[in-house]
């Protein structure tokens, strides 16, 4: 290499403010106050709405009060349902994470800290709307009352696994619940959701689509495909970027978060874009409702960035204290979505600490009982959980001669 010139170029490699050993530091972020963000009409033009991509829609303040034009004014029953689904999701995650530690499954991924996103959104959508999740939206299935035991069967890859042992744990699928088969390949589901939404519009249907991906995954070309097609054909779709600030070990700067928000991506395509406090159940609900109404009125797609924090490890395969301050999760200024909704319900006199304690115990108990039921069917490593034939099925609608021959070969 030649000697350095005075006007030499330099390569910038983004680095987070803090690493293991440092004190957590979120002083870089500034947030608008809850209630301060106006709510545009659903037919507002994307151009007029540009600033929403740089703000943060907040309804709940940190004491539990709900404020401002985005307050969705849900009845207490609905709020308690939301709280229950989030608590159940957390209890489920907790048990399954431990099940992996106990060797009952090879792998698990929690949604700890992000439960509001999947749960509030599912509740704001119609039952027939089609969800294209990433791997961290188990809350959708739970909020659609999918049997926990079937989720466990899938995780244990046992004889009752609806996916017949073909997928990594947590890669569920349930067509009847409008839950698309989770892919191992990041972001692929997002342009597929756009295509589904286009098909719905093509068919004169009324159902819309929603897709989720992590902030890290927005870097994939599939995200660009999704945004481009959604914009061009004004597809009735909601594209949700769950910005939990990490992609495995990489902080969001590696995905492009140093220079702008992830909601801003939508601005680039002329797509209406909202940025929401992802730990605020009411804000997430309200933004989703807005976007769904927009889509249903043939006004096109919305991008929502849900700003949240990945409370746990990426998966059971990593230890986050290797790449971020160990106590960083606790320092996240926007708190915990369950605690915040609980505080709100208590503040409006519709919930109590006792009821909450009971709810948590019920969830834990429900998960425990269900766990035992699933374990009875089998956990990781039971030989013969799936017929050998099933290995050759569903490659095509019908087995071709190769698969028949290969199947015969194994059987003999």
């Amino acid at each position: 290499m030649s000697p350095r010139k005075s006007n030499a170029l330099e390569l910038h490699i983004p680095a987070p403010r803090t690493r293991p050993g440092d004190k957590p530091d979120f002083s870089g972020w500034s947030f608008p106050e809850p209630g301060d963000t106006p709510r545009p009409d659903v037919d507002a033009s994307a151009v007029e709405m540009r600033e929403f991509a740089y703000g943060l829609i907040r309804v709940l303040d940190l004491k539990g009060a709900a404020l401002g034009p985005w307050h969705p004014r849900l009845d207490a029953e609905t709020l308690r349902r939301g709280l229950k689904y989030m608590a159940l999701t957390r209890a489920f995650d907790d048990r399954m994470h431990r099940a992996q530690r106990q060797g009952k499954t090879s792998f698990y991924m929690q949604s700890f800290g992000e439960e509001a996103v999947a749960v509030a959104q599912t509740m704001a959508l119609d039952r027939g709307d089609m969800c294209f999740p990433s791997y961290r939206q188990q809350g959708i299935l739970i909020a659609r009352d999918y049997p926990l035991v079937d989720m466990m069967h899938q995780i244990y890859s046992n004889a009752e696994d609806p996916m017949k042992g073909r997928q990594l744990p947590i890669m569920y699928s349930s067509k009847k619940d409008g839950f698309f088969t989770v892919s191992g390949n990041l972001a692929t589901q997002v342009p597929q959701a756009v295509g589904w939404a286009m098909a719905s519009a093509y068919s004169g249907d009324t159902r819309i689509a929603a897709a989720w991906l992590g902030e890290g995954s927005t870097a994939e070309g599939d995200f660009h495909a999704a945004m481009t097609f959604a914009s061009v054909y004004r597809a009735p779709v909601i594209i949700n970027v769950v910005n939990n600030q990490y992609a495995i070990s990489s902080f969001q700067g590696i995905a492009g978060g140093e220079n702008t928000t992830f909601a801003a991506r939508g601005v680039g395509y002329g797509i209406a874009s909202l940025r929401v406090d992802g730990n605020d159940f009411l804000a997430v609900y309200a933004a989703t409702q807005w976007a769904a109404e927009r889509a249903r009125s043939n006004l096109g797609p919305t991008l929502i960035e849900h700003f949240t924090y990945r409370g746990g490890p990426h998966s059971t395969s990593d230890d986050p204290s290797r790449y971020r301050p160990a106590d960083e999760a606790k320092a996240w200024p926007l708190g915990d979505p369950i605690a915040r909704l609980k505080d709100h319900l208590i503040s409006i006199g519709e919930w109590s600490e006792e009821e909450h304690k009971k709810l948590q115990e019920d969830c834990a108990e429900h998960v425990r009982t269900t766990g035992r039921e699933a374990e009875k069917v089998g956990v990781l490593g039971v030989e013969g959980a799936h017929s050998r034939e099933s290995m050759f099925q569903d490659v095509y609608k019908d087995m071709d001669w190769r698969l028949r021959a290969q199947h015969e070969e194994v059987e003999s």
Binding site: R166, S183, T188, P191, M198, Y202, V395, K397
Partner: protein
């Protein structure tokens, strides 16, 4: 029966299916108003409206992905990739998604989509308008790969692909779009109208996937070919005077193993012809299959006559 070029036959297949089945729609770069750079979708937008036949952004990944989403919804999308050389940006969606969705969801979701693309050399396209990527699809479990060689087959096979409940890769040998080029560079290419397989019924008919066609019977040698190379093989058989049996595979996956075994068991000799580069081309698989199934009948090594392992294609 009308006489059609392969382009007209493909257009007729799409016309027939758009007319029959409201779940069928087609899109691709320049495929709408313009009717496609090779005119395969000509007049379809005019006839069925922009909703059924439209232009797509230049993003093959998005074209494939949105088609997958549509197929998952319950439609039967047919997409056009402008040249097979440009399918690679869609490769992940085809290989990781279209091919796997039925399997990974235990048949909860299925993807009845068709991917059409012109492929192969001979139109002065240089190294990026001439490729034959079929082996990159034949290796992928979950996909079917189909290549017609005549107008009649093109229409019948395309309709079969559209009606198939699995994702199909439909490669169109563009060198024979307008006439059965047979490799004789010294003679002008005769138009399709002089070829019996240009007689194409107007309406609906299908050619089953997985069935090869013995286009020339012979006793001494089996030639396995597909696409343009079928015509080249026929001309070579004729010119050389060898009593060769020429099999047009039509479907590469699942290949018609019975037809192959029957022929090679009879002739004892086998030559495989394709345009793609040799190493790991589909000819390798055919060689392996023939030697596995017909080893004790073989009187000579199976030979591959293929493109070189270079990147050439004259501009």
């Amino acid at each position: 029966m009308p006489s059609m070029t392969m382009i007209q036959a493909l257009n007729s297949a799409l016309d027939t299916m758009l007319d029959r089945d409201p779940k069928v729609l087609t899109f691709g770069e320049d495929a709408g108003y313009f009717g496609g750079v090779f005119k395969v979708t000509e007049h379809l937008q005019e006839k069925y409206g922009a909703r059924r036949c439209f232009d797509a952004p230049i993003n093959e990944c998005g074209i494939a992905a949105t088609a997958i989403g549509m197929a998952v919804y319950g439609l039967r999308p047919v997409i056009e990739i402008q040249f097979a050389d440009y399918v690679y940006p869609a490769y992940d969606q085809l290989v990781s998604e279209a091919a796997r969705i039925r399997y990974r969801s235990a048949a909860d979701y299925t993807v009845p989509m068709t991917v059409r693309m012109p492929y192969g050399g001979g139109i002065y396209g240089g190294q990026t308008h001439s490729q034959s990527p079929e082996a990159l699809f034949t290796h992928v479990a979950g996909l079917k790969t189909v290549i017609p060689s005549t107008p009649y087959d093109a229409k019948g096979l395309l309709i079969a692909c559209i009606e198939d409940d699995d994702p199909t890769i439909f490669l169109e040998p563009k060198r024979v779009y307008n006439g059965p080029f047979d490799g004789r560079r010294d003679r002008p290419v005769s138009p399709w109208s002089k070829h019996p397989a240009s007689e194409v019924p107007e309406g609906y008919y299908k050619i089953p996937l997985g069935k090869a066609n013995v286009v020339r019977e012979g006793a001494d040698l089996t030639i396995l070919a597909y696409g343009t190379m079928v015509h080249v093989a026929l001309a070579a058989a004729e010119d050389s005077g060898i009593d060769a049996e020429v099999i047009d595979l039509r479907t590469l996956v699942p290949v018609d193993i019975e037809a192959i075994v029957q022929s090679v068991s009879k002739t004892g000799r086998c030559v495989i012809v394709h345009e793609a580069t040799r190493t790991s081309g589909y000819g390798a698989e055919l060689t392996a299959l023939v030697q596995e199934h017909c080893f004790y009948h073989l009187e000579a090594p199976i030979e591959r006559v293929t493109g070189y392992d270079a990147l050439s294609a004259r501009a």
